[in-house]
């Protein structure tokens, strides 16, 4: 199937990168690459929103934080002091508790992260729905401000509430067992596995999105981008589709937040901040608004560089500059039509040269 070639390519690149780090003894890079994957997941979701709902969401960081903080809070409640109580017994009987022994020999009993996973997704999706339904039906770009406001609310809440750790955030978040033997955790011993987990998640998302884009719904979404009035006239419930896309983006962000929090073992209020939301927008803008692969590639590169500290003090400024330059000179993104055309003509040239030398 032609449409899956890029996905296979991505998978190949992921494997090659890992092997390269192994060979060159630079496996520590896998950590930042893993984190980048989760940020790429957020960007991919935002790409759908910006490219198809045609609106900017400046609140993706808020959804990310919902995912992260929900699980951080729930899984750091220690149930072992409550072992006698009814609550404990019920949860235990339902198989919802996980027992762990810490380095110091203490027993920790915490909620199964699958519960917080479901809750994270539900809360994020629900918030996106309530926000999206009224705002998306407004003409113009109110969503930008409304989502910025949403992000600020989330930020202020986690910053100002004791149960979320205020400025320090929540740490000591336990690792999360996907299937027996495969854990999402920051352990060095599990570094390679986690690298693959994160990128597998991205690949899964890309697969689903690629399928979607090529389906009946995807066509409706692409016409939203091409001509919303036409889509309307052809029977597409544009309002509903925009909300659906917005919710999808929010869910993807919260899933990313969930996984990254368990990987990092914690989360802080900066993940909810406007600066982070702006980054996601910058990444999607550079990648080309409706260009999923652009967002992924750019997301990987920019996040990796940022995490490696390449931008130094000017981290935020770099993303700001990117935004400005991109919108001024390349509103279709860096990886846009002419980029592909140039690529194609180069490939053609190579092919014809090889043909000539054979003749």
């Amino acid at each position: 199937m032609k449409r899956y070639y890029p996905v296979l390519l991505l998978a190949a690149v992921i494997i090659i990168i890992q092997l390269l780090t192994l060979i060159t003894g630079r496996e520590f890079l896998l950590t930042q690459l893993t984190m980048s994957a989760y940020y790429v997941l957020v960007a991919a979701g935002l790409c759908m929103v910006m490219g198809y709902a045609g609106q900017i969401s400046l609140g993706q960081a808020g959804f990310f934080a919902i995912g992260g903080y929900t699980t951080a809070y729930l899984t750091t409640i220690n149930f072992s002091p409550m072992s006698g109580k009814a609550v404990f017994k019920v949860l235990d009987a339902a198989g919802l508790l996980v027992t762990k022994t810490t380095l110091y020999g203490d027993t920790l009993v915490h909620l199964n992260p699958w519960i917080s996973f479901i809750l994270s997704v539900l809360i994020a999706g629900f918030s996106a729905y309530i926000l999206g339904v009224p705002i998306l039906r407004l003409k113009g770009h109110y969503l930008a401000m409304a989502t910025m406001g949403f992000g600020i609310i989330v930020y202020r809440i986690v910053l100002g509430t004791r149960m979320f750790g205020e400025a320090d955030g929540i740490s000591n978040v336990p690792s999360f067992s996907l299937i027996p033997g495969i854990r999402v955790s920051g352990d060095i011993s599990r570094r390679t596995v986690n690298y693959y987990i994160s990128w597998l998640l991205v690949i899964l998302a890309v697969l689903l999105l690629t399928n979607l884009i090529n389906s009946r719904v995807g066509r409706a979404l692409r016409s939203l981008h091409g001509s919303e009035e036409a889509a309307d006239a052809m029977g597409v419930d544009t309002a509903r589709y925009k909300v659906a896309v917005f919710v999808t983006g929010a869910v993807m962000a919260s899933v990313a937040g969930f996984f990254l929090t368990h990987y990092n073992g914690g989360i802080g209020p900066s993940e909810a901040g406007v600066a982070k939301s702006v980054r996601y927008v910058a990444i999607v803008a550079v990648g080309g608004m409706a260009n999923l692969w652009g967002s992924i590639i750019m997301g990987l590169i920019l996040n990796f560089l940022s995490l490696r500290g390449v931008f130094g003090h000017f981290d935020d400024a770099v993303f700001g500059i990117i935004l400005v330059l991109m919108m001024m000179f390349m509103p279709d993104g860096f990886i846009n039509r002419s980029f592909f055309n140039t690529l194609k003509s180069i490939i053609r040239k190579i092919k014809s040269n090889r043909g000539d030398s054979n003749a």
Partner: protein, 260 residues
């Protein structure tokens, strides 16, 4: 045309639209019988486009009703109106320029399908088969309009005439019962207009009802079964082409009267 008392497929009653102080459409009423071609004409500013857009759901009238069979359409959004089988074209073509001809036309099949988000993401069999059937149903339309061999071309690269054909194909792909054509002859030369006439007649022969807004008199007089004439938002005349051509009021508003 057999003169039977058939219930009209569309009833437009007392439509009024104000834009600020401008009374753009003033108490306009008319019926559209099933299976005919009806044209709405009038000088610039007569309110025909506004009327058209109200029927299609783009404007909400201050008062008045539009009925499709027995269903009230006024107040519904365009996509809801489309779900009843009423589809329109746009005068200044609203196509997705970066999508292929086939993809644009397939959009017309949207209301005939039901595969949703989940089905799309998981590429479920039902959705894929639906897609296959949609493509199969659309190819004959493309062939009929002479654009089948460019089905994979990006619409933005086509000539204006071909783009027009894509727009029409898209509306037809929906298998509409009522087709609303918004100045279909705009920008076409005489030869292209003749071809358009034939096509519209062929569409009518398939049992579809067509309502169109048009400036091109030769097209209108050629193919219309009935004509409605608007001027300054009001209905001046309605009837068969011969009667309209002889109607003094109509002649006056187009050619100017004797302002003694």
């Amino acid at each position: 045309m057999p003169d039977r008392a058939v219930a009209p497929i569309m009833k437009i009653r007392n439509m009024n639209k104000f834009f600020g102080g401008l009374h753009a459409v003033d108490s306009v009423s008319f019926d559209v019988k099933e299976g005919i071609i009806k044209s709405v004409i009038g000088p610039n500013g007569a309110g025909k486009t506004t009327m058209f857009n109200m029927i299609a759901g783009y404007h909400i009238p201050e008062s008045g009703e539009v009925y499709y069979r027995d269903t009230l359409l006024t107040g519904k959004k365009p996509f809801q109106i489309a779900s009843h089988g009423i589809f329109r074209t746009f005068q200044n073509l609203k196509l997705s320029t970066h999508m292929s001809v086939l993809e644009n036309v397939l959009l017309g099949c949207h209301t005939r399908g039901s595969a949703g988000f989940l089905s799309g993401m998981l590429s479920l069999r039902k959705g894929r088969e639906e897609e296959k059937r949609a493509v199969e149903s659309v190819i004959p339309v493309l062939e009929w309009l002479g654009i089948a061999d460019m089905k994979d071309t990006e619409v933005g690269n086509l000539s204006f005439g071909d783009q027009r054909a894509v727009e029409l194909a898209r509306a037809l792909a929906s298998d509409p019962s009522v087709l609303l054509l918004d100045e279909p002859a705009a920008g076409l030369n005489m030869h292209e207009t003749d071809i358009l006439s034939e096509r519209i007649r062929a569409i009518k022969d398939k049992g579809k009802t067509i309502l169109l807004v048009e400036h091109d008199m030769s097209l209108v007089m050629d193919i219309s079964d009935e004509i409605v004439v608007l001027n300054f938002g009001q209905k001046i005349a309605e009837g068969i082409p011969e009667d309209i051509q002889r109607n003094n009021d109509v002649i006056r508003i187009y050619l100017g009267g004797e302002d003694a």
